[in-house]
Symmetry: C2
Subunit: 234 residues, 2 copies
């Protein structure tokens, strides 16, 4: 029985803590409903705060979304970098990149979708910090390919950005059904097939099998001994 004259009272939290709570709520609501269908009312309610409060910390709904995505994306990249360190060899590294990427999608399809649809396709994306994060991320793959070229395993005339686009674009297409809750994809099988396909497409043209040429030359020298000087080349 609250008296009619009871003063309205509330808990006041430090800025950082309140922001974390709002972002956690926003992440849930955005994930469950998508950007458009998520209402600020829902988010405020779940965060246990009034709608107006959200605007104390974020300029608008989109700013809140970007903050949520940024946090997730950064942690994803951190994990990615850690897993990749220590892997040696072009093929194994490529396989790891692809595998990890697929794993992130499996782990957070809703956030991936938000990133693809709402963030990456916006006009201001190319000026955003998320663009730079993404750039660093995909650059890892390009460095791996460059390494393969340096070691002679990969054709030097290949277009590295094209390979990047085929890998990440191919993955995106492949998982598109999964991202909208239609069907699934086999994580390991996809990674293996994709790695095989890309490695085959990039492979340096086969030289003659190792050492075979030298062996034939020795044979020819043997033959020379039999027919003396002058016999031979035509």
């Amino acid at each position: 029985m609250t008296t009619a004259t009871a003063k309205r009272s509330f808990v006041r939290l430090p800025r950082e803590q309140r922001m974390r709570e709002i972002e956690a709520a926003a992440r849930e609501v955005f994930s469950q409903r998508g950007y458009d269908a998520a209402s600020m009312t829902d988010i405020a309610k779940r965060a246990g705060v009034s709608e107006g409060s959200i605007y104390k910390f974020y300029t608008n709904k989109r700013d809140l979304l970007l903050t949520v995505i940024r946090t997730w994306y950064q942690s994803m990249i951190d994990e990615f970098m850690e897993k990749l360190s220590g892997v040696e060899g072009t093929r194994a590294q490529l396989q790891t990149v692809i595998w990890q990427h697929l794993k992130s999608i499996k782990a957070n399809p809703d956030l991936c979708r938000l990133f693809f649809l709402e963030v990456r396709s916006a006009d201001d994306y190319f000026d955003s910090d998320l663009f730079h994060l993404n750039r660093d991320y995909t650059h890892v793959l390009m460095d791996i390919i460059q390494g393969g070229i340096d070691r002679g395993e990969i054709r030097p005339d290949i277009s590295i950005p094209l390979v990047r686009d085929m890998v990440f674009g191919g993955i995106e297409h492949r998982v598109s059904g999964f991202l909208v809750n239609r069907g699934d994809f086999d994580h390991d099988e996809t990674a293996n097939q994709l790695t095989d396909m890309v490695m085959a497409g990039m492979a340096a043209p086969a030289k003659t099998p190792n050492g075979l040429e030298a062996l034939v030359e020795r044979l020819e020298r043997v033959a020379d001994r039999f027919d003396g000087p002058g016999g031979g080349e035509g």
Copy 2:
């Protein structure tokens, strides 16, 4: 000088014609501003009709968008099919598919973007007629690859859907900057590089290692010098 008591009057058009006018206006506004920023007021104004009229023909804004996209997509596919007919050979066909696809993107980047962002990523896409159109379209590429397998030009163990995903996904990534008005892409160069890469990745394994045949011929010439039976191994 209209009198104050002039009856309000308007032109009444047959359903089909009015719909075509509204769709033309919608296509312009959606293209210029994108789905969210396009307002029904804008579209109505450009079509020379009141807002309420639009709802006589389309259940809502999204329905109008889908109608616009459907018309464009169908005409694009018609053109595509026509250009492809008469092209022979796995490589040439693949090249044509890729080239035509890039051409469509160059011709209507705004509608492509709407298709990618607003149509293909919606929950109901997989039940829509646009999905089936798209399915037929991408199936053309898969048939080409199957033909290549049948003729022994392509490894039979390749995953055809994966190739489809890498081609269309790769293209989409490659042109993503262009689609948001950042930079351009070289139409022919992209088509050629992509075709090369895919063909190399799918190529049937060479029967004999490259150059081995020539070496064997040299060996045969060596053997010829002995010109007779009894040349034993040493």
